[in-house]
């Protein structure tokens, strides 16, 4: 019985954690919520892996290069503003 309840709680925490990993990474959870994530991640290899790869993904996105604008972009816009 206790085992079943633990499993049910684990699954509840698993789903909740999976939904809130971004909020956790972004520091947008309250303390109790953060602890809930950390406690679950500590015992769930799957969520640990998702969190680790999500972090790498977001870090990778932040390191993407900005495409260079075409030369004279602002002037071309200003030129359009001057058109009748």
């Amino acid at each position: 019985m206790i085992r079943m309840l633990r499993k049910r709680r684990f699954m509840r925490d698993h789903e909740w954690t999976h939904e809130h990993l971004s909020d956790y990474m972004d520091g947008e959870l309250r303390e109790r919520e953060r602890e809930r994530v950390e406690e679950h991640v500590g015992m769930c290899p799957q969520c640990r892996r998702v969190l680790a790869t999500l972090r790498k993904t977001v870090a990778g996105l932040g390191s993407l290069m900005s495409p260079s604008p075409p030369p004279g972009l602002a002037d071309s816009v200003i030129g359009r503003l001057h058109e009748p």
Binding site: E19, L21, S22, D23, D26, E28, V50, T53, L54, K56, T57, V58, G60, L61, G62, S63, L64, M65, S66, P67, S68, P69, P70, P71, G72, L73, A74, D75, S76, V77, I78, G79, R80, L81, H82
Partner: protein, 224 residues
């Protein structure tokens, strides 16, 4: 040619700080440009009073970054330039209606992204991933075929760029604004005219989808 990344350059909470390379030489640059310290709000007020020079300063300040954002929603650089021009034209025409409840760049980006999305929706649907529920495209084999062909970083970036392009537009925007451009959740949600809860939900879905597309690469890279 590739410029520097913008994430981290965004002046969070205080509007964009003008970059030193924002000015382009040209026929319209003979007059003095507003000092970098002049706040957007001041230029907007002057523009609302009919001062076109003030609006041109806003163009010089924001054009490059707006272009970089809309390029991720358009088919090619030429269309991104058109969208950038169109966004500023619309902003100039309706500057009198800008109430200043958000920052100027928030308002401008909303105009630009909406214009880019409007054009994207008119294009034929891509034959690739269009739903976040779909399985990710099986491109990992390509990576395995030539692991030494490109550097790991270059490969990861290419895969990330493709994963971004594969996202539906409503999910692409949160990801681009928050994770690529480095805006805060509040700023990015305001640009999309979404509540923060809805914005965060889309952002999380988008991140999971991108992660899914590069997951095997991340594992392989970690194993090496």
């Amino acid at each position: 040619m590739i410029g520097i990344g913008m994430a981290g350059l965004a002046a969070l909470g205080g509007g964009w700080q003008p970059r030193g390379d924002a000015q382009q030489p040209g026929a319209h640059m003979s007059r003095g440009v507003a000092p970098a310290s002049t706040a957007d709000e001041v230029l907007v007020e002057r523009a609302q009073a009919g001062d076109r020079d003030a609006f041109e300063d806003l163009v010089r300040r924001h054009a490059d970054r707006l272009y970089a954002v809309v390029l991720r929603f358009t088919a090619d650089p030429a269309e991104a330039e058109e969208v950038t021009q169109e966004a500023f034209l619309r902003a100039w025409r309706s500057i009198g209606r800008f109430e200043g409840r958000s920052q100027f760049f928030t308002w401008l980006y909303r105009i630009g992204i909406n214009e880019a999305k409007r054009r994207a929706e008119r294009r034929p649907a891509p034959g690739r991933v269009v739903s976040l529920e779909d399985e990710p495209a099986e491109e990992v084999a390509d990576l395995r075929e030539s692991p030494e062909a490109r550097s790991e970083q270059g490969e990861l970036r290419a895969r990330l760029e493709q994963a971004i392009r594969d996202l539906p537009l409503d999910y692409r925007a949160p990801l681009v604004l928050r994770d690529v451009e480095g805006l805060s959740t509040a700023e990015a949600a305001a640009i999309m005219d979404l509540g923060e809860a809805a914005f965060k939900s889309r952002l999380h879905r988008a991140r999971l989808a991108v992660r899914e597309s590069i997951d095997q690469y991340l594992v392989e890279a970690a194993d090496q």
